[in-house]
């Protein structure tokens, strides 16, 4: 799924999420729910800084790799969930349903991550057309 579509879905599913951005792990902003592009860039930079600070804390505490975090303040909460490629960062009002927010953010990341799988599936067709050259040696799918 396209990152912008995934964020639209996230906003529809989770009424507690007020703002959200998708940021590549190299810091590039991929999509946001904000209309103001400059503000979205600032949040993306803040999300990268937040993750970096949390990673430093994790390292100093000698803990395993970080998978997600929440910073709760009286003004609201900031959530971040990251996978191998990107991070989704969301802002909610105070006292959100933490488990539900994390679940929705992980679903959002999973939806985006599924996109390349479809592209690979499209590419798989021409590869499957090659086996006649090696037909006498082995089944194309490895069976037998």
């Amino acid at each position: 799924m396209d990152p912008a579509e995934a964020l639209t879905d996230l906003k529809q599913i989770s009424t507690q999420v007020e703002r959200a951005v998708v940021v590549r792990n190299d810091g590039t902003l991929e999509a946001s729910t904000l209309r103001d592009g400059a503000a979205a860039e600032r949040i993306a930079r803040g999300a990268a800084d937040l993750w970096e600070a949390a990673e430093s804390a994790r390292a100093s505490l000698g803990r395993p790799p970080l998978s997600q975090l929440e910073v709760a303040t009286p003004e609201g909460s900031v959530f971040a969930v990251r996978d191998e490629a990107r991070m989704v960062c969301a802002v909610t009002a105070g006292d959100p349903t933490v488990g539900l927010i994390f679940y929705d953010l992980k679903t959002c990341l999973r939806n985006i991550a599924e996109e390349p799988v479809e592209a690979v599936a499209d590419l798989a067709e021409p590869v499957a057309a090659e086996p006649p050259a090696a037909a006498g040696e082995e089944e194309p799918d490895g069976q037998g």
Partner: protein
């Protein structure tokens, strides 16, 4: 007798509800950082922890921009 029981149950219920509300309100006004790790463990850092001091500025910057 029945009125006495009813009053006792009402007082007990009100006291439980009050405790829940006060705790929830207090929790709402606290700052904390919850870190979740790849092995499924979680660490909640209070607002006076040194690690929290390093993490909070970025979170405040995000909140200030988002709201």
């Amino acid at each position: 007798m029945a009125r006495g029981k009813l009053a006792a149950i009402s007082v007990a219920t009100a006291s439980v509800l009050g405790t829940v509300l006060v705790r929830r309100r207090r929790r709402m006004h606290q700052t904390r950082v919850d870190l979740y790790f790849g092995d499924g463990s979680m660490l909640s850092l209070p607002d006076d922890a040194p690690e929290t001091a390093a993490i909070l500025p970025a979170a405040h910057a995000i909140l200030a921009t988002a709201t």
